[in-house]
């Protein structure tokens, strides 16, 4: 700690930061543009000037950039000396010379950091009477709009895109007052994290195009603290709604997970909520009349109750909906009849993993831990596509060696440009073991593209080397290289996933993780899961109650009633397999948001709420239970699953029921605070306009806001903006209208949002001492996977961020970025399969067949081919290929 004097007042501040950060943590207004809490300082914008005095005698002082000046004990500074005020005014005047002043038609207007800083700096009068510099805008793809004329050249975008997220197709071009931030030519921004440009840009150069489709001003948005449900990471978000339409998603800072940044799927994949095929009321199939009839909610509820009581019921829960919905379904049909919507392999992997965490054999690490690690081994997972935010963190991890080197030279980590100059090509080692080239390869010291069988062999070899159970002399060079880095690391981390569908690989990885953890207690371990609530669903389900066993059971003795909660079985099963099974079932009840292929076969179809319209908790990959608060009341007859299953039990009673039934979830109710008599929080901003007018076409009377007894938030502008114990529903602070206002809500810069709940960690940091027995040397150095029969090929998943997640695949912006489905294999393999020169291949499997264009990818190892994830799930992994004419 250091004591510094600001405008005559003494303050205690941390020393490992700069003066700008210190002022912000103290809640003092210092305008800035180029500094960013995650990207540090570069001193380009010059807006954050303060006066720094040599000592108490010095009355003159020196103009200093606060973002570039480390805090030292005894500093004396003034924030608002006349010369500083003049300088800041000139600054804004200079920045505004070419700015179009188009705030009324700019989407950033009202939440623009440039507007805020202009006001804060007091600049009001334009003196320059020359012409403005103008630029041509670019098409940057379906996600982001580009309006270069608004640019004030703070360099945040290019630093974020290139330096932070590793993008290469965006840059700063030209020089002087003609600098241009964009691509070399029009085209989609390729980086999977491009959407953060919208938040990083302090003004309206980069705007959210999906938001533009249904734009309203920030002050007319209704928001709530929520969780992204598009992958297993549980990034924190603010969904924002007006008039029943979900308008956008923005980042909600969580220090241990997403920090300041989201992936593009999480940010732009929300529009399924507004989909034209969203189910709005219950439907019932009338077989006799061959019709589908709308029924009332009461009728539907009654019908569901009857069906649930039928002689045989089988229910399939969902890894993409909340714990509470799944729990309520399980309560309705009984544990014995409740199945998870994932394969036996996947469920078993998740449960093995969860046990390892439970018994302290393996740590369960956060992204924050990942970012502070110094060596990472990524195994068998194309993480950029499956749990994207991890990839961004892995990239930051590789920068730690440079930060360390800079620290040795007295340069702090926040001195971003200096650190990069010192670090140059130096990277903390990231080794990738994958089945094909990935988007992270440029950040890795080495990428090994191996078949799953070879991967298992290599992992076992690494494990054996670490255990000293084999001689280094007989080990492969690749294994030795990785082991060398793992052994010298102070804080190594393994990153993997269960998606690979190769159980042997995850088991080998877990084994390796345990070994490493035994050798080094600072070892980290991250295993991405297939869906947002895979872990939560696994908690509620017995291992043998998976989709494979469910289908077998249906085949053997079809139940009278099948209840499917928010899952589209056609994603996992081929039509050939599934249709006969479903045809044998008398009553199929489907609860979902959209008219999916599965929903189309329903006899009773019930509309459910999306994540944005209900309260619920999700368990992320690390076993972190997080609450998502409803952003807006569900319109029409949509209800959360749990209310369909049990209308009598309110949300909080249900939480208590969950806590009573599931020992691990005993503190679940603490995540949600019910509405209290006293203070409540407003979801809408105090400036929300036209509340009564919106619906005036049908009803001129003021509408009463819908009540929400289950949360401390009101569906109205009435109520407090913040409460000490509750996270805010939106970020807005006097003088700080943009998302930069976050700094007014954090406990300190890069600290959590005040009042926010970090989530309940099911696997608290290992309480058990790492076990010391070295087991299972049995399969060392052996190829553990089954050999593939002659003439056949093993299919692997070609994961894609914009294709694999079910709900976002209904979103038009995401669809525009979905790559064409193809089968990918290396040229040698194509020749071996006698398919040379073919444009398209026919893939034949017992479960069905399909035709895909052929794409040569020489990074794919021999003996395997990549196909889109869903196709792999539908066809199974062993197939035959032939030319398609």
């Amino acid at each position: 700690m250091a004591t510094i004097i600001i405008d005559g007042a003494k303050h205690e501040v941390e020393t490992d930061q700069n003066l700008l950060q210190a002022c912000q943590t103290l809640g003092l207004d210092v305008p800035y543009f180029c500094w960013h809490p995650a990207m540090g300082s570069v001193g380009s914008c010059r807006q954050c000037a303060v006066t720094l005095f040599k000592d108490a005698e010095d009355k003159q002082g020196r103009l200093t950039m606060s973002c570039m000046t480390p805090v030292t004990d005894g500093q004396i500074l003034a924030l608002n000396n006349p010369d500083i005020i003049k300088f800041r005014d000139m600054q804004i005047e200079a920045l505004m010379i070419n700015h179009p002043h188009d705030c009324p038609v700019c989407e950033e207007g009202g939440e623009c950091h440039l507007q805020d800083m202009t006001l804060m700096s007091g600049h009001v009068k334009r003196r320059f009477r020359g012409p403005k510099q103008t630029h041509v805008n670019q098409y940057l793809g379906p996600f982001i709009g580009h309006e270069m004329n608004r640019c004030i050249a703070c360099y945040r975008c290019v630093r974020y895109y290139r330096d932070y997220s590793g993008g290469t197709d965006f840059d700063v071009f030209a020089s002087r007052n003609n600098v241009y931030f964009g691509r070399a030519e029009d085209g989609d921004l390729e980086n999977e994290f491009s959407g953060n440009l919208v938040e990083v840009c302090p003004t309206g150069v980069f705007t959210d195009k999906t938001y533009s489709q249904h734009y309203v001003r920030k002050w007319d948005l209704q928001s709530a603290p929520s969780i992204c449900t598009q992958c297993s990471l549980g990034c924190n978000t603010f969904p924002a709604e007006r008039n029943g339409i979900l308008r956008r998603i923005t980042n909600r800072y969580h220090p241990d997970i997403n920090g300041y940044f989201l992936c593009d799927r999480g940010r732009f994949g929300y529009d399924f909520v507004n989909h034209s095929e969203r189910l709005t009321q219950p439907w019932q199939r009338n077989t006799e009349q061959r019709s589908t009839d709308k029924i009332t909610t009461q009728q539907a509820q009654q019908r569901l109750r009857e069906l649930a009581k039928s002689s045989s019921v089988l229910a399939v829960g969902s890894a993409r909906t909340s714990l509470e919905n799944n729990f309520a379904l399980r309560q309705l049909v009984g544990k014995d009849n409740f199945y998870a919507d994932c394969s036996q392999q996947v469920l078993r992997q998740i449960q093995v993993l969860s046990q390892c965490h439970q018994y302290g054999l393996l740590p369960s690490s956060s992204l924050q831990t990942l970012e502070s690690s110094d060596t990472a081994l990524l195994i068998g997972e194309d993480i950029t596509q499956t749990a994207p935010r991890i990839a961004l963190s892995l990239r930051q991890m590789t920068g730690n060696a440079g930060k360390q080197k800079a620290a040795e030279m007295g340069i702090a980590a926040w001195q971003d440009a200096e650190v990069r100059n010192i670090c140059q090509q130096l990277k903390s080692p990231l080794h990738i073991i994958s089945s094909h080239a990935t988007r992270l390869d440029d950040a890795a010291v080495n990428t090994l593209c191996l078949s799953p069988a070879q991967q298992v062999t290599l992992i076992n070899e690494i494990d054996a080397l670490l255990n000293n159970s084999i001689d280094a002399g007989v080990a492969s060079r690749q294994a030795r290289n990785i082991v060398k880095d793992l052994q010298t690391a102070k804080q190594p981390i393994l990153v993997t996933g269960v998606h690979t569908d190769s159980e042997a690989l995850l088991r080998a990885t877990i084994q390796l993780g345990q070994t490493l953890y035994r050798l080094n207690s600072r070892t980290g371990f991250i295993c991405a899961l297939p869906q947002a609530n895979s872990m939560g669903l696994a908690l509620l389900t017995a291992t043998e109650h998976n989709l494979d066993t469910a289908l077998k059971k249906i085949e053997k003795s079809p139940p009278k009633t099948l209840i499917l909660l928010e899952t589209d079985l056609y994603r996992y099963c081929s039509e050939q397999l599934l249709e006969p099974l479903l045809n044998n079932i008398e009553n199929i009840v489907v609860l979902d948001h959209l008219l999916t292929p599965t929903a189309q076969s329903a006899d009773l179809l019930l509309p459910t709420t999306s994540f944005a319209e209900m309260h619920g908790s999700w368990v992320n990959y690390e076993g972190r239970v997080q609450a998502a608060t409803s952003c807006f009341p569900a319109p029409d007859e949509r209800r959360p699953g749990h209310l369909w299953f049990n209308a009598e039990t309110d949300f909080h009673s249900l939480l208590i029921e969950v806590a009573d039934c599931e020992a691990q979830l005993k503190s679940l109710p603490s995540l949600f605070t019910p509405q209290s008599e006293g203070f409540h929080l407003a979801r809408q901003t105090i400036r929300a306009t036209g509340r009564a007018a919106v619906k005036a076409v049908t009803n001129v009377r003021e509408q009463q806001p819908q009540q929400d007894p289950d949360s401390p938030y009101q569906y109205s502008p009435e109520g407090a903006a913040t409460l000490p114990e509750q996270p805010p529903a939106y970020l807005w602070h006097p003088n700080w209208n943009s998302n930069e206002s976050l700094n007014r809500f954090q406990e300190e810069i890069n600290g959590p949002i005040r009042g926010s709940h970090p989530g309940i960690l099911l696997h608290e940091k290992a309480s058990v001492v790492p076990s010391t027995d070295t087991t299972q040397p049995g399969y060392l150095l052996q190829d553990s996977s089954k050999p593939i029969a002659e003439g056949k090929l093993q299919l692997l998943a070609d994961y894609n961020i914009f294709r694999d997640e079910e709900l976002s695949s209904y979103v038009s912006a995401i669809q525009q970025r979905t790559p064409q489905a193809a089968i990918k294999m290396n040229l040698q393999q194509v020749k071996q399969s006698h398919c040379e020169g073919a444009d398209k291949l026919k893939i034949k499997a017992p479960a069905g067949s399909c035709i895909l264009p052929l794409y040569i990818d020489d990074s794919v190892p021999d003996g395997v081919a990549l196909v889109p994830t869903n196709l792999l799930q539908q066809l199974g992994s062993v197939v035959q290929l032939e030319r398609a004419e």
């Binding site: 003049k86 000139m90 200079a94 070419n98 020359g130 050249a153 360099y155 007052n177 340069i411 100059n421």
Partner: protein
């Protein structure tokens, strides 16, 4: 080989149209400074350079020996270390390095070898202004000769010294003359200056210790090593040591470039060497060291061209290449020309330079073309304050402000008259 101590050590080999070949250069005593250095320990050479009080000839006048002493030495020092010759001479009015490079490329190489030996650099770059095609060709020839003769490469002259020297022709930006921007450009990055610390001496090119010196600085080294620090000091007429290339451009009788002792007065340079003003023209003012230095007036003519002396009268020595302003050339036009150049050359990194200089350029143009308004003077003064040292990221914009601020001080009436008359009075005369 001659042992006579030269009085003009920088230009002693610059006698013919073609530069001396390696053998001719060696015959006339070239590379003996380097040989002397090789016989000494690096510490000893560094002491000599420090004792000589050589100051960097690029413009800032930082003591060369002191700069070198920041380079980490010893077994734990990072390696390789880099040595860079800054030949990106783009200062308006400066053409001294060009002359030296075209005339005596071997003297540059010799100077760099001495520096490499002293700081322990194993790789060197000559960073050359894009337009200096002839110099590039001649340097390339000289480099080739040196490699063939074993003066560059591994174990030079049987010593422990290994030094590879490359030439890099710049893509052509003024800012590349700033040493950290130069380093970025060498690395293939945008030529934006870097934040300091870390200084290049500690973490420069590719993050390794790097010394960047001006061409003329390297030219001083062989003599200093061969003839000693005292000799070099005595070459100067005033406080600063050595000789320097001084130039004069503008309406003088004999514009040109001369090697003269440090401390030669401006009057002597203009009146004796440049032959005084052209007939019919009076000296109105001058910028002593290139476009980024403050105007001086005829009353300053007796100031010695010494770093501190020039500083004391409110300008900078800069490159030592004087541009004179005569009584029939519009000072507003001259300042506009200069500021426009610097606005054009801004890298675009920091706001005051990127957006401040172009707005000053625009206003100067308005005044010059008769569209100025009285409040423009306040605007210009504000811009001068705005881009003051410390407010900007590097020295480009403060440099650009120097001729502007001094013109506002010395030629204020001219500005006012432009605004009052609504036209340029000089053009009316012409």
């Amino acid at each position: 080989m001659t042992n006579a101590q030269p009085s003009l050590p920088l230009t002693q080999y610059c006698t013919s149209e073609q530069p001396l070949t390696l053998s001719a250069y060696q015959q006339q005593g070239g590379y003996s400074g380097f040989k002397t250095a090789l016989e000494q320990t690096p510490e000893r050479v560094l002491e000599t350079i420090k004792d000589s009080r050589l100051r960097g000839r690029g413009g800032a006048g930082f003591p060369t020996g002191l700069k070198w002493s920041f380079v980490p030495q010893g077994d734990n020092a990072p390696s390789p270390k880099y040595l860079v010759a800054n030949g990106d001479e783009m200062e308006p009015g400066a053409f001294k390095d060009r002359y030296l490079l075209e005339q005596a490329p071997h003297q540059l190489i010799e100077g760099m070898l001495i520096a490499a030996h002293t700081i322990g650099a194993s790789i060197g770059y000559i960073f050359l202004r894009y337009e200096y095609h002839m110099a590039a060709k001649r340097i390339e020839n000289a480099l080739q000769e040196c490699y063939q003769a074993g003066l560059l490469g591994n174990k030079i002259q049987g010593s422990e010294l290994t030094f590879d020297l490359h030439i890099h022709t710049s893509a052509g930006r003024y800012i590349c003359g700033e040493e950290t921007a130069l380093i970025n450009a060498l690395e293939g990055k945008r030529a934006n200056p870097r934040a300091k610390p870390p200084y290049p001496q500690v973490a420069g090119l590719w993050g390794k210790p790097t010394i960047v010196n001006n061409i003329e600085t390297f030219f001083c080294l062989p003599g200093i090593v061969q003839y000693g620090a005292d000799w070099f000091q005595q070459l100067g007429r005033h406080k600063d040591s050595g000789t320097k290339l001084f130039g004069v451009s503008g309406r003088v009788k004999k514009p040109g470039l001369w090697e003269l002792p440090m401390g030669t007065t401006i009057r002597e340079i203009i009146e004796e060497h440049a032959g005084g003003m052209c007939d019919g023209y009076q000296l109105r003012g001058l910028i002593p060291g290139g476009g980024s230095t403050d105007f001086l007036l005829p009353e300053h003519l007796d100031t010695p061209m010494d770093y501190d002396e020039i500083g004391n009268v409110g300008s900078r020595m800069g490159t030592g290449t004087i541009t004179v302003l005569d009584d029939q050339f519009c000072p507003v036009d001259m300042v506009h020309n200069l500021v426009a150049f610097f606005a054009q050359e801004s890298c675009g990194w920091c706001t005051p330079c990127r957006d401040g200089l172009p707005s000053a350029t625009y206003v100067l143009e308005q005044i010059e073309t008769g569209h100025g308004k009285p409040e423009d003077m306040t605007f210009l003064e504000d811009i001068v304050d705005f881009v003051a040292p410390g407010n900007t990221f590097c020295a480009l914009a403060p440099g650009a402000a120097e001729p502007l601020q001094s013109a506002l001080k010395y030629f204020r009436d001219d500005f006012d008259q432009h605004i009052k008359d609504g036209c340029c009075p000089y053009q009316a005369v012409q």
